[in-house]
């Protein structure tokens, strides 16, 4: 649930111009050791 649709300007992040910013395209896929284990369990259980 979005917090408020009548104050959208407070919800949307402002544009930030910086060449050092990560983008969605190079978003890191960081999984903890525990989550890597969970991924394997989920695969085994439901595949």
């Amino acid at each position: 649930m979005i917090q408020s649709t009548s104050h959208r300007q407070n919800i949307l992040p402002p544009a930030i111009g910086s060449s050092t910013l990560a983008t969605v395209e190079n978003e890191p896929d960081v999984f903890s050791e525990q989550e890597m284990h969970i991924l394997e369990v989920v695969k085994d259980k439901y595949a």
Partner: protein, 362 residues
């Protein structure tokens, strides 16, 4: 059954995925849904669409929950090594101070804490005001900018609350981060597990949208992939059973443990009335407890979905959660399981005849 639900909820709430950075949670959801679906795909922004064909191609029912959670993004590292941040989604200043967070760098995850000036050194005027978010910073224990950079932190890194899943002493209420809306995603996973074992007279599109918390953006694009006849949006809502909430603030109170909530009004949508009444009738026929809600603020993906093309009859079904958009939310397992039952009953019931009746509003 209870353990099964708790396992899914734990996995989905502890996996990170703030708005715009949903890749980790998308992978987990895809792993769950791939073996249960006829087809699985994404739209070009990253919303996940799992298709389960039933005994009839139509009607096409879109069941949508959003996979993103509210969080933050690193914007700047100060000369002393502190981290300034941008909120992704709606956060209230007062719930932030002294909370632990995880920064997801391109290498490790780094735990930090949100800091601000200590009250001992504030002026009397500052002491009377809540601390503003722009005055806060994340402290990872560094003593210089170089040290923070060496850890691997850089502007653009996503940041999530650090908040492990926990079952309360009553064995029914659970607390976790990101219940908004991983609880909804978990319900859709359990729904797919149920419908994969039987028949249903329609085609179900389980859609896990991205970027709901920053403006219902994933719903805007994923609805075009589905082109649904009907939509059920599965999201959480504010539990108003906590102290100090007046009837004016919450004209329809919602309580933990009293059943799933059917939305009658929010700032983004008034539901399609015949469809809303069908949902209520289905709950009554199946002895599923439910609550109704009128909320002046807030909104869900249904706000975008119901306006697609010539309109999509839509209803919001959710569960009440205390302290949404916070590091820890609380929800009740009975509400969750009853919501799954209600969704299952609806998917078993809705066929071409139902759709014809719903569309005949003249």
């Amino acid at each position: 059954m209870k353990e099964h639900s708790l396992e899914i909820l734990k996995i989905l709430t502890e996996t990170p995925g703030v708005s715009g950075f949903e890749s980790p949670i998308r992978k987990v959801l895809a792993n769950y849904l791939s073996p249960l679906s006829s087809e699985i795909k994404t739209d070009k922004l990253g919303s996940l669409v799992a298709i389960k064909e039933g005994t009839s191609v139509g009607p096409k029912i879109m069941l949508a929950s959003h996979m993103d959670e509210v969080g933050f993004m690193v914007t700047q590292i100060t000369g002393e090594g502190f981290i300034k941040f941008q909120a992704l989604g709606g956060w209230w200043n007062q719930v932030l101070l002294d909370q632990r967070l995880e920064i997801l760098t391109s290498g490790d995850r780094v735990i930090g804490v949100i800091g601000a000036k200590a009250p001992h050194i504030l002026t009397s005027e500052e002491l009377r005001q809540p601390v503003k978010m722009k005055s806060m910073f994340i402290d990872v224990g560094s003593t210089s900018k170089e040290e923070t950079e060496k850890i691997g932190i850089k502007p653009g890194d996503p940041v999530v609350p650090y908040s492990p899943f926990m079952l309360c002493k009553n064995s029914k209420t659970f607390m976790a981060k990101a219940l908004d809306d991983r609880a909804g995603c978990a319900m859709l996973v359990e729904l797919f597990q149920r419908i994969s074992r039987g028949e249903h007279p329609n085609t179900v599109y389980g859609v896990m949208t991205v970027q709901e918390e920053v403006g219902l953006r994933g719903a805007n694009t994923s609805v075009d992939v589905v082109k649904p006849d009907l939509a059920l949006v599965v999201d959480v809502t504010v539990a108003t059973d906590t102290p100090g909430i007046s009837d004016n603030e919450a004209p329809t109170k919602t309580y933990l443990g009293k059943g799933p909530v059917i939305g009658f009004y929010d700032a983004s949508m008034i539901p399609h009335i015949p469809f809303r009444d069908l949902v209520i009738k289905t709950a009554q026929e199946n002895n599923i407890p439910f609550q109704v809600e009128v909320m002046a603020g807030g909104g869900t993906d249904a706000g975008k979905i119901h306006l697609f093309r010539e309109g999509v009859p839509s209803v919001v079904i959710g569960i009440p959660v205390r302290y949404i958009h916070d590091h820890v939310g609380l929800a009740h397992l009975d509400d969750y399981q009853h919501a799954v039952e209600l969704l299952f009953a609806l998917v078993k019931k809705i066929n071409t005849e139902t759709l014809r009746e719903l569309e005949d509003i003249l």
